[in-house]
Symmetry: C2
Subunit: 429 residues, 2 copies
């Protein structure tokens, strides 16, 4: 009996999701035809409404926080979940920043004329309907909706159950703003249930009504999405980012870049997790680099050479080379030059972001060519791995996939294209 009821509820959720998909597809068609002015007006209105209704959003957030506290959630989760006036203001400002971006649609990406006179243009168009699955950060509701709307896509948002009330209050502001701008409110929909069956439906593509799904969250979420999705996924796994200090590195610059890459913020995917030091400069650079990290409060787990250089270094195990600490901990290994660094990164990296510090252009050139990661830097911090820092405006994440979007995924990356061909009666021989 209970099973039958559960099955019945499941079917209800599936029916609900199918209807959401159908509405999203209709809204996407309207959005693709809407002028940039209407999309921008909606974004403008969204920013204003988020500010005007901050109290309502904060009250909903207080309910979420209370429930999460009662369930004994971790301090880290509570911090991600918590909103305050400054965070609501940051959300509104983020929406305004997205509005200020150039229109990513209708760009002529390429244009050429064939010998038979056909003129072929590749023109950017929306992807269509995007599903976003995220965890406890309620601000993703506004960030993701803004990026999708800017790029002319309808979006179906499925946030974490902990942030349900907060996301709902934020979503209400967004939907009202769409109506105000004359756009269909179904362009930004939020899954109105905490039921996990909804995630499965979304990953199934809602009968062809969802074009791509973007997961934003921790490893287990991303893995579930990659395992269960029947539609294309734009996502990233971990950021096991490396800084390689080459034999020809300036020590002062190396210290600055290593400390910033590791410690500016430890919880972001572009934070460095492993430091590789060229054996050629280990004698001069290893000690000071370790000392600087330890003094800054970072735990160092190193190989034998690193432990020999400083007794405070703990022993690294094989696991450390594969770990995304997201904390004030760094793995440290001495390698044989740029070739050794490239080999280590190839074996243990996650293809996210790596940096070389060196004054030798040949070593830098080889590293930038041969390291197969979304972002490779020379003499710069790995923490620049960010859409905003790239000048792309807000981002929905950093993709470590190789298909469609790689690296920061902003409004421009949420587009597809089509070919417009102009003829004068040509037929194919």
């Amino acid at each position: 009996m209970v099973d039958l009821m559960a099955r019945e509820e499941e079917r209800d959720v599936e029916r609900l999701m199918t209807e959401i998909g159908r509405q999203a597809r209709g809204a996407a068609a309207a959005l693709a035809r809407a002028p940039a002015g209407a999309r921008d007006a909606a974004l403008e209105a969204m920013a204003a409404r988020l500010r005007a209704h901050a109290a309502r959003i904060l009250a909903a957030n207080a309910d979420d926080i209370e429930a999460a506290t009662a369930r004994g959630q971790s301090a880290a989760l509570l911090d991600r979940l918590r909103l305050d006036e400054a965070r609501v203001e940051a959300m509104a400002a983020g929406v305004e920043a997205v509005r200020a971006l150039p229109d990513p649609l209708g760009r002529v990406l390429a244009e050429w004329t064939r010998p038979n006179g056909l003129v072929i243009r590749r023109v950017s168009v929306p992807l269509g309907v995007i599903g976003i699955i995220y965890e406890s950060r309620p601000n993703v509701t506004a960030d993701a909706a803004a990026l999708c709307l800017k790029s002319g896509n309808a979006v179906i948002l499925r946030g974490g159950s902990e942030s349900y009330a907060s996301s709902r209050a934020i979503h209400a502001c967004l939907a009202e703003s769409l109506v105000q701008a004359g756009l269909p409110p179904e362009a930004v929909q939020m899954v109105p249930t905490r039921d996990r069956v909804a995630v499965g439906s979304l990953l199934g593509g809602l009968g062809g009504c969802v074009d791509v799904v973007v997961p934003r969250g921790g490893r287990s979420l991303i893995e579930r999405v990659q395992r269960d999705a029947r539609i294309p996924v734009i996502g990233h796994l971990e950021g096991i980012c490396h800084v390689y200090v080459d034999g020809a590195a300036d020590l002062e610059m190396a210290e600055r870049i290593v400390l910033n890459s590791k410690l500016r913020r430890t919880g972001i995917c572009g934070a460095a997790e492993t430091l590789l030091v060229d054996r050629a400069c280990a004698g001069t650079h290893l000690g000071p680099l370790i000392a600087a990290l330890l003094e800054a409060g970072c735990e160092v787990r190193g190989d034998a050479a690193a432990q020999a250089a400083d007794a405070r270094v703990q022993a690294a195990s094989e696991t450390d080379w594969r770990t995304e600490y997201l904390d004030a901990v760094i793995a440290l290994r001495v390698v044989e030059g740029v070739e050794g660094a490239i080999r280590h990164i190839g074996a243990y990296g996650s293809g996210h972001t790596e940096s070389i510090v060196t004054a030798d252009p040949a070593a830098a050139g080889r590293f930038l060519e041969e390291v197969d990661s979304a972002i490779v830097l020379h003499n710069a911090s790995t923490q620049f791995a960010d859409g905003g820092e790239f000048g792309m405006g807000a981002e929905i994440g950093i993709s470590t996939g190789r298909i469609h979007a790689r690296g920061p995924v902003g409004a421009e990356q949420l587009t597809s294209f089509k070919y417009q061909v102009s003829g004068s009666g040509q037929v194919r021989p």
Copy 2:
């Protein structure tokens, strides 16, 4: 006992596939570092070897044909399967044409400087390892391998079981040519078993060793791939392509484009399947268009208006609007102007290729903007939906997906990119 043996064989195939994947990943790394000259030398050698070993290939093909005939395969399949000297020469010429394309790797797709002095370059790189699953056309073995090699990708080929011997003979030429050019022969591998378990393994990604899978074949193959793949797919479903003859169309041009779109070759995905005629010109254009089609040997299935215009028109049912005939049959419907055409295509099209015939630039502009297909043409035949006709060289297919590649998929579309960032010691504030 039999089940146990079957299970054991399945595990053997899985182990074999895993090893193929591992070797492909290693070859991809070598290929990504190989200069364009080495890739082109291998392609040159491939073309020469296909010509030199034509007799060996044709003998293997004769075995395939004999076996397929004995199994009572259809004439259409036998035609796709059959090779002769001209087809082997066409394969060799196709490989040479791919060699002659510009190098798709190392292109600077974009470059900009940030206010902090960081120089950011987006540079094209290979996708990695590509799995190609195809049916009975043995020439796909050479075509697909050439495109993958040109774009620096390792490839795992899984052909149809009917063409197994032919594909093996072709593959031998390719592998020998890689060795001759100093490249790893594992850059082009062919699955050495007809066991269908191998397809499942490939669609699972071989433990992260395959980056993308490209199906080439009929609907059931594409659907299986889209259902079972755990990795990104670049594929296309059907080409339900439309020609819309607008009220402002020149009748002579409309006839020429309609006949060519439908009948130049009926079996290709860019062949038109439905003709839409504006009610505004039905009185003058409908009769002559129907007569021209019928006289050219094309069956016409139309709505009431079309039947009224010519008694030889058979009645179309709802199914006809959704059918990819791939034959000398066309569906015909009278619609209310460009708006009616756009609505019909939105409801029944497959997002492949559509053409408008009109002398009215406003109608053409609206059609090209609002029809949401990979290729939209004005005053040109839908049969131009082809990588070669677009000037992109050979193609692996026409993608109706919206992610990564849309439209013709050539060597350039088989690339990804990375960001190379050059700094002078910048850290993130």
